[in-house]
């Protein structure tokens, strides 16, 4: 993704060439939809959220200060929107506390298809308390970059690290049970 392309397209849009915004949409639709999808685990809703993020981006384009990368500004805007919208209408989740303890603590990568495991991990992520979920989503979305996650969430890096640690702890305690659950049903 080229920062100069973003800057050039933004300048053109601000001069009235609306078609130039299509370049921005082309470059960032994948990341914005996938970020939304990690928040809500619903493809349709993820696209709706991403579309709203692009619309807000268009409205607020003049507020982008060139001292930060366009992508940083865009992700912060989108993250803020996704968090607000998902607090308003939360995704359907099963609370982590409702997950029963399995009879034996099985290894989590034994016998489960990758697809099933991905599904379970995604569900576990969405079921986390909001403040940990947001940090984990942003951290892994930004290729484990604490600074980028902090910029997107508008939080200090120390807070990100603390929540990351706690979020991982919760996942570590719950994932083996969640991963074992489908096999127990089959048995």
């Amino acid at each position: 993704m080229s920062a100069s392309e973003d800057q050039s397209d933004v300048e053109r849009v601000l001069l009235g060439d609306i078609a130039a915004f299509e370049g921005i949409v082309h470059r960032w639709q994948g990341p914005l939809i996938n970020l939304a999808y990690r928040f809500c685990q619903d493809r349709g809703r993820a696209e709706e959220l991403a579309q709203e993020a692009f619309l807000r981006c268009y409205r607020a384009l003049r507020q982008w200060r060139r001292d930060a990368a366009f992508s940083t500004w865009l992700f912060a805007l989108a993250t803020n929107l996704y968090r607000t919208e998902l607090r308003r209408i939360p995704p359907r989740t099963q609370s982590l506390d409702d997950i029963a303890e399995p009879a034996d603590a099985r290894v989590f990568d034994e016998g489960l298809e990758d697809r099933d495991r991905d599904l379970v991990v995604r569900r576990a992520l969405v079921a986390l308390p909001g403040k940990y979920r947001e940090v984990l989503i942003l951290f892994y979305f930004h290729d484990m970059d604490v600074a980028a996650a902090a910029l997107s969430l508008g939080l200090p890096e120390g807070t990100i690290k603390a929540r990351l640690f706690r979020g991982r702890e919760i996942l570590r305690s719950k994932l083996p049970q969640m991963l074992a659950a489908p096999r127990l049903k089959e048995a």
Binding site: I18, A19, F21, E22, V25, H26, Q29, G30, I33, N34, Y37, R38, R43, A46, E47, A50, Q51, F54, L55, Y58, R59, A105, V107, F108, D109, E110, R117, D118, V121, R122, L125, L136, Y140, D143, M144, R168, L171, R172, L175, P176
Partner: protein
């Protein structure tokens, strides 16, 4: 190789980092651009008519100041403030018997009328221009 989640610190990182990605649906870009074009074509929001509202606002501020001044004058010209006169009932009874009450009420009424007329005039002017 069997790994238990509590034994491998990197396992959660690995699983969360490799979450599958989805591709945007075919019509996503055009849908966004349609929304953007609609947004761009929408007329700009109507600005508040500050110039037209200014007389009404000034008159309102003047009326409010007048009410405050009249009230302060009326209270000061009543009994000197004592501990007993600070209660609401004693204040009201004192206030009621003051000769200046009529004058204060008249000024207050006049101020309210001026405010009402100013606001109505401003609204009518704004409506006729819209």
């Amino acid at each position: 190789m069997k790994r238990r989640i509590g034994q491998d610190e990197d396992e959660i990182d690995r699983m969360l980092e490799l979450l599958p990605e989805i591709l945007p649906s075919a019509g996503f870009t055009s849908s966004v651009m349609n929304a953007i074009r609609l947004e761009a074509a929408a007329p700009p929001p109507i600005m508040f008519p500050w110039k037209r509202a200014l007389p009404g606002l000034v008159a309102g501020a003047f009326a409010l100041a007048l009410v405050v001044v009249v009230t302060v004058v009326a209270v000061r010209s009543s009994q000197p403030i004592t501990a007993s006169s600070l209660s609401f009932s004693s204040f009201m009874s004192t206030f009621r018997v003051q000769e200046r009450l009529e004058g204060a009420a008249s000024w207050t009424f006049l101020a309210l009328v001026v405010t009402f007329v100013s606001v109505k005039l401003s609204m009518r002017l704004a409506a006729s221009q819209a």
